[in-house]
Symmetry: C2
Subunit: 220 residues, 2 copies
């Protein structure tokens, strides 16, 4: 049985019938299912993805050489979303703070972090993936630093602090996805208010280093 794919971006409304069309739809259904399953549990078995998608195992293996391939695809997609959001934020020339805040809200909303950092370590990373990650990090740093240089950010903070905030929010898991997103937005709002306290003293302790945050791409 073929699912009516919920969510997901439609590309071209291909003919409703035909085997090719059904297969194409399964492409989407499978990706969406994989995203949902692995975001909820990065160590989930591949059979859980098939179940959630309402397809058999072979439908997965026809599309991906193995589990790692699927994981890499999801991770790469997440990274691309991250990059796109960062570029969008950088193109906002008006308010550096709002650009940063909006960027963070969109990243959290898209649950990009669960797709990148949380998945890293469950597969052997690719050269290509490494480049994308580096690019993503660089862009995010620019978004952050621009807000810093505009004097809109509490002193003592750096880009790695931002990454850690993403980490923390991605660890929040409630009943369903929508409720989780609500709560994450709520707590992100709290954090943003803390980051905006430009006249507050720097937070205690030595700040996180880029290396400490990057290391996780190989660890676990």
């Amino acid at each position: 049985m073929f699912h009516s794919y919920s969510g997901g971006m439609e590309t071209t409304p291909a003919p409703m019938s035909g085997r090719k069309a059904q297969a194409a739809r399964n492409d989407q259904v499978i990706l969406e299912a994989a995203r949902a399953v692995f975001v909820a549990d990065p160590d989930a078995p591949i059979s859980a993805v098939a179940e959630r998608a309402g397809v058999g195992i072979s439908a997965l293996y026809r599309r991906y050489a193995g589990k790692e391939d699927l994981l890499r695809k999801l991770c790469s997609d997440g990274l691309r979303t991250y990059i796109a959001e960062a570029e969008a934020a950088l193109s906002d020339q008006d308010d550096p703070w709002e650009a940063l805040a909006g960027f963070m809200r969109r990243v959290v909303d898209a649950d990009v972090h669960s797709l990148t950092i949380n998945l890293a370590g469950t597969f052997t990373p690719t050269e290509e993936l490494g480049r994308e990650a580096a690019r993503a990090g660089g862009l995010a740093e620019q978004v952050f630093d621009r807000a810093v240089q505009a004097g809109a950010v509490r002193p003592g903070l750096n880009t790695s602090d931002m990454s850690l905030i993403f980490d923390q929010l991605a660890a929040l898991h409630l009943g369903d996805e929508e409720r989780t997103a609500q709560i994450r937005r709520r707590h992100l709002a709290l954090m943003l208010d803390a980051l905006r306290l430009t006249s507050a003293p720097p937070p205690p302790g030595p700040p996180p280093t880029a290396e400490e945050v990057t290391r996780r791409w190989t660890a676990r």
Copy 2:
């Protein structure tokens, strides 16, 4: 052959020799190793604990009927620490805000959350454990509400928000334990500053409910 136990805090400088003494020391070593291992990875194999403790598997099974027993012990200890800290905070009659802030700092410092919520779900909970958890939750609520009633907390927040903050901080994992603790203190400080903004508007979205936070004792 018996290992020369490395590290481990000595309680009473009992006779340096004697088999009984070594066994008693192993009690400590094993518990400490289990804490460290399961805090780093709640799904770690029991052999990892033995390795870290520098003892054989049988040293564990002599003390605990099985893996779950050990997990329950750790969880119960964590809960008791939590309760003790909450009671200490309640006995501070001077500054409700500082009592709350200090409570949260100590809970995060002791990494209690990794011992309770993060471990829950890896074993079948006990009746006793449920009571302890309920008591812990009740006390924490009192600590929080006292600060609220003193007008020291930003409007719109509740005890479950505090639990979620613990969740988020417990998800932070860096190189070693000390560094992790540093960073957690840092980000807790940020969050506390956000909670202290009494004249800021309530954070967006419907607040978390106690049920949403409690549910995790049975889930997974």
